[in-house]
């Protein structure tokens, strides 16, 4: 029994069909067209007009985010930008250190158990022009309750004196990552995991929440609220152990979970050390895939981040830092990717800097020796500083690019002033070049690094505008159709799910997003102001929290 959903407007994205109605039967799309066309083709169908005032698009697809974005909300948000929690509540950004302390005070007062550690996340001092959060600040929030604030980079935390006393962090704490004042007392900063682990339960409790089932449930809600019906967990943790794989199955296969999830394995986070064993394990997991939960992708991380000055770049950073960090020995990369490609698995590789992209493109070209496997969809993730000559080689090799366009808004001014300078900032995330060369394109949020929001990243790629109002590389802006394609079909293609999702086409799953305005009517400038009304998964509505 078919249902015809009538919309104010409907954009199929990748299908020739046009119209304002879509017919759905048993969770699948059966026809797209005008209401009159569908009625005459399907005389017994019910017409459902709940979207009569809305615009329908294929549900958005996010091809680079992390499930920990959900678990983060178990802790207090103190980030600089406005952000919405899984329940849909808006948290205003903390624009000054005082605002951070005020928010902490409020949360502190609401805790019953006086010994419970107050944990917060999202702090990014890069916006506070040199001001550094230290224990002294946090002591003004509480001199008795331990406080642990992790920074947005996840490489650094600030704690208060009560926490340091509880965990015996003192003048004798030798770790390099425990900076001291002139008198030899720790100032409250804990840098990198070894030093952060000194915070004991303050630290372990933070990360335990990120990998818990409740966190994944919340990740599904964040996706739904953003209009995303297919989301990736791009290698946040290993899936080698049965207990972790089972947790994913229990959470995502639950009918109440509002999105499909493609879970990638990241060998850098654990699991078998030999890549042959990794490939074998992921192939086995792929066999456990369901309609909603997919295994079969492998992700490597080659370098760090640009705002952390750890991306591998061809030219030094403008602050004088020579270069960033490798996470894989470049000379070993060929041996790492060969078993993955030989097994027919999907390979996505994090390359923020152009030097990292060089190493990947070279290794891929060598391993595939002039004849890349058919339909391999190997994707350069982030690809933020990739140059045109590199994109030309990627086009020849049939590689894809998933760009981190949200950077223009969240760090665009910092990239001009502090990291790579105006010239390179103008060619960051060069989406128009990617499309011009015929490379399959997607754009992403990398939640929890930036908030999960497909319309926001589409706005960024279409405007390339910074917080201060600069427009970086206007020639690289996408038009609305290109941006909408990138957050639907473009991402679905890179996840090898474009035969099922990503467009409103007969035969595909009835995964939709209902919007309160039409992106093609409001235009590029208005994309981020459009509201998501609800999503539909296999024809079943998922109401937005």
């Amino acid at each position: 029994m078919s249902t015809i959903f009538l919309a104010r407007s409907l954009h199929a994205i990748d299908a020739a069909a046009s119209g304002d109605a879509v017919a759905v039967d048993e969770g699948r799309i059966t026809a797209v067209g005008s209401l009159a066309e569908l009625r005459s083709a399907l005389p017994n169908a019910t017409v459902d007009d709940r979207y009569a005032e809305a615009t329908l698009l294929p549900g958005f697809v996010e091809a680079h985010s992390h499930s920990m974005a959900g678990g983060m909300w178990r802790h207090l948000y103190v980030g600089f930008f406005d952000n919405r929690d899984p329940a849909g509540r808006l948290w205003l950004g903390c624009k000054t250190l005082d605002a951070v302390l005020d928010r902490l005070r409020e949360a502190e007062a609401a805790l019953d158990d006086p010994n419970e550690t107050l944990r917060a996340w999202g702090l990014d001092p890069i916006y506070f022009s040199g001001d550094r959060l230290v224990a002294e600040h946090l002591d003004r929030v509480s001199s008795t309750r331990p406080i642990f604030v992790i920074h947005a980079s996840l490489h650094l935390a600030t704690v208060n004196t009560a926490l340091m006393e509880r965990e015996h962090i003192n003048a004798d704490s030798l770790a390099d990552g425990v900076p001291k004042d002139g008198a030899g007392h720790p100032i409250g900063e804990l840098q990198e995991p070894a030093a952060m682990s000194l915070a004991g339960e303050g630290f372990t409790g933070m990360f335990r929440a990120l990998m818990a089932p409740e966190g994944i449930t919340d990740y599904g809600k964040l996706a739904r609220n953003a209009g995303v019906t297919t989301v990736v967990d791009l290698g946040s943790g290993p899936i080698a152990s049965d207990s972790i794989a089972t947790m994913w199955q229990q959470v995502v296969n639950d009918p109440a979970f509002p999105a499909r999830v493609s879970v990638f394995h990241n060998p850098g986070q654990g699991g078998p050390a030999s890549l042959d064993e990794v490939a074998e394990m992921v192939v086995r997991r792929r066999g456990e895939s369901t309609d909603k939960l997919r295994f079969g992708g492998v992700k490597f991380v080659l370098d760090g981040s640009i705002q952390g000055y750890t991306a591998r770049v061809t030219e030094p950073y403008i602050n004088g830092k020579e270069n960033g960090l490798w996470l894989v020995p470049p000379a070993q990369l060929e041996d790492w990717i060969r078993p993955v490609l030989d097994a027919g698995l999907l390979l996505h590789v994090h390359c923020n800097g152009d030097q990292a992209a060089d190493v990947l493109i070279d290794a891929f070209a060598k391993v595939t020796a002039g004849s890349p496997p058919a339909d391999h969809r190997t994707t350069v993730q982030h690809s933020q500083l990739t140059r045109r000559d590199q994109y030309e080689r990627m086009a020849e090799l049939g590689m894809c690019a998933n760009l981190f366009s949200n950077h223009f808004w969240y760090w665009g001014d910092q990239h001009v002033d502090l990291t790579v300078g105006p010239e390179r900032a103008a060619r960051m995330n060069s989406a128009a070049t990617v499309l011009e060369l015929g490379i399959p394109l997607s754009i992403h949020c990398d939640a929890s690094v930036t908030p999960l929001g497909s319309l926001h990243v589409a706005w960024c790629a279409a405007n390339r505008q910074t917080v201060s109002g600069r427009v970086l590389g206007p020639d690289e802006r996408l038009d609305v159709a290109q941006a909408m394609h990138a957050i639907t079909m473009g991402a679905a293609y890179q996840l090898r799910m474009d035969d099922e999702v990503g467009s409103i086409s007969p035969g595909k799953r009835a995964d939709f997003v209902a919007l309160d305005a039409d992106p093609f009517v409001v235009g590029a400038e208005g994309l981020r102001d459009i509201n998501v009304l609800s999503t539909m998964l296999d024809g079943v509505e998922q109401s937005v929290g």
Binding site: H168, A175, E192, A194, L198, P272, S274
Partner: protein, 291 residues
């Protein structure tokens, strides 16, 4: 020498420098010590024939009492598992990946259950200059050398005198750490740290050592004394009493550390010099502690 903390040695170095060979020597050795090794890749380690029981939780127990562990759930978890093993592990070695930052890993040696015992880099005498000039990893290899306490220049047997000279110059340009001619000193540090009571100076092919009972000494005095070690001294480790508490005295290469430690050890300090017989300058320096 025992305390409630496990000594931690970090072994770094770029590809092909002999890290795995060194680790195989530890895991194969009939040394009677209970050593844990965290490796990057089980596949490279020759443990199959020594395997006592299959891996549980990523940890494999070996017939000689050692354990081998791949950090399957991350380094933090592996460290927790190793610290919980009984009987307790006597020494932990972490092999850092070819591009890993050994100094960052070494910071785990400053967390409550471990004592940083030293950062050792292995460098291939033949290929080191090429890696240092490599556009991709030159800076990484240089930073690894700079962050290490001791540097072993390996594969000297197949390198020409010219290659060895070039390699030594490259190391000296990147790091102030002493250069060792073979892994023998490192193996001695890892496998025979405990001399029975006071031991006279011992001579080896390439190094010498002595163990003595230190007098009571204040923390500041112990620090000054360690910092004044003659250049031949590549290693000092032991405990000394201030009269009120025990101090852990450590020097690896040019880096010294004196920290208060709980423990029932008796005062005893071992010194290793990278020359075949103990020089008079070292004996004089040891005597100076009594002044």
């Amino acid at each position: 020498m025992s305390s409630d903390r496990i000594p931690l040695t970090v072994i770094g170095g770029y590809l092909g420098a002999g890290k795995t060979t060194l680790i195989n020597k530890v895991l194969n050795g009939d040394h009677g010590r209970r050593i844990a090794v965290i490796v990057n890749d089980f596949g490279d380690v020759a443990i199959d024939e020594m395997l006592l029981e299959p891996a549980t939780g990523g940890i494999r127990a070996l017939a000689n009492g050692c354990v081998c562990c791949a950090a399957v759930d991350g380094l933090a978890t592996a460290l927790e598992d190793i610290a919980a093993l009984r009987p307790a592990i006597e020494h932990l070695i972490i092999e850092v990946s070819g591009v890993g930052d050994p100094w960052a890993v070494a910071q785990w040696g400053r967390t409550p259950r471990f004592d940083l015992d030293g950062v050792i880099a292995l460098a291939d005498a033949v290929t080191l200059p090429r890696w240092l000039a490599d556009v991709y990893v030159g800076d990484t290899v240089r930073q690894q050398l700079a962050a290490s306490d001791l540097i072993v220049l390996s594969r000297r047997d197949i390198a020409s005198p010219e290659e060895i000279r070039t390699a030594e110059e490259s190391v000296a340009a990147a790091s102030s750490a002493p250069i060792l001619e073979s892994v023998d000193v490192v193996l001695d540090m890892l496998l025979h740290p405990r001399a029975a009571g006071q031991a006279p100076s011992r001579a080896h092919a390439e190094h010498s050592s002595i163990t003595f009972v230190p007098p009571r000494v204040g923390r500041d005095r112990a620090t000054t004394w360690l910092d004044a070690a003659p250049l031949e001294v590549v290693r000092v480790k032991g405990f000394a009493s201030t009269g009120e508490m025990m101090l852990l005295l450590q020097r690896v290469g040019r880096r010294s550390e004196v920290v208060p430690r709980l423990g029932l050890e008796s005062p005893r300090v071992t010194v290793i010099a990278a020359v075949p017989t103990l020089p008079a300058s070292v004996e004089e320096w040891i005597d100076s502690l009594r002044e």
